[in-house]
């Protein structure tokens, strides 16, 4: 089978984005663009699955792409995951943008180009392509955040996101440049080999590792580098928030796993006494605790979900730390968690979109009071996704957390597991608070009553996420098996 087949997911997204951009320029109305975007995402995801099933061993010339682009099971898994996240965001945009008078077609091209960058990030085996992928993903995400041009909040959120994102990219680049100086390599495998051979003792490498960790922590929005996240998530139009919370975060975690395990996998960079694991362990503790405590105090549900996405990054970091002892098991729990997190978060934001309409976007807890009795069809999926985010069985979120805790325990990180468990109990408080407002409160007299919007696109997105949340929650073994295969990439 030819090389074109192996990189077909990339080609489909790239050409699809260009075709949609052209058709948007010439068409009078942008009605079908959301559908077209979803189809492009679905096709790319399907081709990635086809490559997975066909097997990479029989594809000739795959090594001509390395190290620039590493097509392995890890990157194919992320292709499917990112296309799923992108497709859900596109479906939500199809309902949200016309409803809130933002119906401009460039949203969809930006979404596709940004996802292309995220996919490249997951497949990059060289610092150069990693940087290009990171910029492609981030530039699209900045523009999506600023999409509501007349809103000061949107511009402000985008500004903070842009400034801190560029700062983080500069930190990462300086770190990579130092590593290049110390080892003479920009490909991750070469860096890893040189560090194993003894280069990791140099002070330059230590400084580089600190800078790279700080840059990565910015990108996955870990405390203390999380300041941009709530503002960018709140200011952005909700489908863009969804995209940032699911796809951008997954892409950043893919980059983190690939860089840490491939380049910094030598004994002196990856051990419990030195290197990145102890640093990330403390970052994880801070991230979970701070995010959960602040999330409980929010008045806006959208902002609460932003802090909740930071807290989930903390849980995932626990599993990233655990990869130092067992790459396959802990790595698989990261991938599986990202999958459950993607469907639950996209569903929760989708349900929030569904609960509002033009001029009356539902954002605060008050907006949602009593909606469970008045509009059960809108409240029920919301409840399901929140229960999944809280990690209560029989939903996907439960097994996501279960696998992470198990991987951390088996790596001997008992104290970290206990902190993560306590945090997930605290986290349940603010998810259930939404349920209390939806089902047990009545709106105050004279307060505006939220009326759900109607949109086939949003309904479709909610249906897909709800099915996946239940499917992953009822029979997680098969997906976990796939994640295990994906996580065992060569170091």
């Amino acid at each position: 089978m030819s090389l074109t087949f192996a990189i077909s997911p990339f080609l489909i997204i790239a050409f699809g984005a260009m075709a949609l951009m052209l058709s948007e320029a010439f068409a009078k109305r942008s009605n079908g663009l959301a559908l077209g975007t979803t189809i492009v995402f679905a096709a790319a995801g399907a081709f990635a699955m086809a490559v997975w099933l066909y097997g990479l061993e029989d594809i000739e010339g795959l090594d001509t792409l390395t190290p620039w682009l590493v097509v392995d099971r890890f990157s194919l898994f992320f292709d499917v995951l990112l296309c799923l996240g992108g497709a859900l965001a596109a479906l939500l945009a199809g309902g949200y943008l016309p409803e809130h008078n933002l119906d401009r077609g460039e949203f969809y091209s930006l979404l596709l180009f940004s996802t292309f960058g995220a996919m490249m990030l997951a497949a990059a085996g060289d610092v150069l392509t990693l940087f290009i992928g990171l910029e492609t993903m981030s530039i699209g995400a900045y523009a999506l955040t600023a999409f509501r041009r007349a809103s000061a909040k949107s511009a402000e959120g985008a500004l903070k996101y842009f400034l801190l994102g560029s700062f983080a990219a500069a930190l990462l680049l300086f770190g990579f440049a130092l590593i290049y100086g110390a080892t003479g390599h920009t490909d991750l495998v070469g860096i890893g080999a040189a560090l194993k051979a003894g280069a990791s003792k140099q002070p330059m490498v230590v400084i580089a590792l600190v800078l790279i960790l700080a840059g990565l922590a910015f990108k996955v929005s870990a405390v203390p580098f999380h300041m941009w996240t709530p503002d960018a998530y709140e200011g952005a139009p909700t489908p863009a928030t969804t995209y940032m919370a699911v796809a951008v975060k997954s892409g950043a975690f893919a980059m983190m796993l690939r860089v840490l395990l491939t380049a910094f996998g030598d004994p002196s960079s990856m051990s419990w006494s030195a290197g990145w694991p102890p640093v990330l362990a403390w970052v994880a503790v801070l991230t979970m605790t701070v995010a959960n405590l602040i999330a409980g105090r929010q008045e806006s549900v959208k902002r609460m979900l932003a802090y909740s996405s930071i807290a989930h990054a903390g849980y995932i970091l626990v599993a990233v730390v655990a990869t130092m002892r067992s790459q396959t098991l802990a790595g698989a729990s990261v991938l599986f968690y990202l999958l459950t997190y993607t469907v639950s978060t996209a569903g929760a934001f989708g349900a929030l979109i569904l609960c509002g309409r033009r001029g009356a976007e539902a954002v605060s807890y008050e907006d949602l009071s009593g909606i469970g009795r008045r509009h059960p069809a809108a409240a029920l999926p919301f409840a399901l996704f929140l229960v999944s985010l809280a990690g209560i069985p029989p939903t996907a979120g439960f097994f996501g957390k279960w696998f992470i805790f198990r991987a951390a325990m088996e790596s001997g990180l008992t104290w970290l597991t206990i902190i993560a468990f306590i945090n997930s109990v605290i986290g349940a408080y603010y998810y259930l608070r939404v349920l209390v407002y939806m089902y047990m409160r009545e709106p105050a007299a004279g307060a505006p009553i939220a009326v759900p919007m109607r949109s086939g696109y949003v309904t479709a997105a909610l249906l897909v996420s709800a099915l996946l949340v239940l499917a992953l929650g009822l029979s997680p073994t098969r997906s976990l098996d796939v994640a295990v295969q994906a996580a065992s990439f060569g170091g």
Binding site: L128, A143, A152, K160, F162, L163, S166, F167, Y180
Partner: protein
């Protein structure tokens, strides 16, 4: 290789100036310039290290890619600054304070 060490120190100093400028100054345009200084420090470092690892042009090539990608990034950044300025008539980041807990 004293020559290269000098470049590394210069690049470190530039990077620090840019970083401090970014963290201290509240004018968005100055913050953008500070990021550019940091990235130029990276470029300088890459080109200097390319002398150390002569034979391949990886470092120089990387610097070109950074220049190109940053041009694209700044284009989007300035558009965001413009859109904020149109609404709020300010380019100071401490006056953009609508979003809070």
């Amino acid at each position: 290789m004293t020559g290269i060490a000098n470049y590394v120190v210069l690049s470190g100093v530039l990077f620090a100036i840019g970083g401090i400028g970014f963290l201290v100054r509240r004018n968005v345009l100055v913050a953008l310039m500070s990021i550019e200084i940091m990235l130029n420090a990276v470029n300088l470092l890459l080109v200097a290290f390319n002398r150390l690892h002569a034979g391949e042009l990886t470092g120089q090539l990387f610097a070109f890619f950074i220049i190109a990608a940053e041009a694209a990034e700044v284009a989007v950044g300035l558009a965001i600054v413009l859109s904020l300025f149109r609404i709020k008539r300010t380019v100071r980041s401490d006056e953009a304070d609508l979003l809070k807990n």
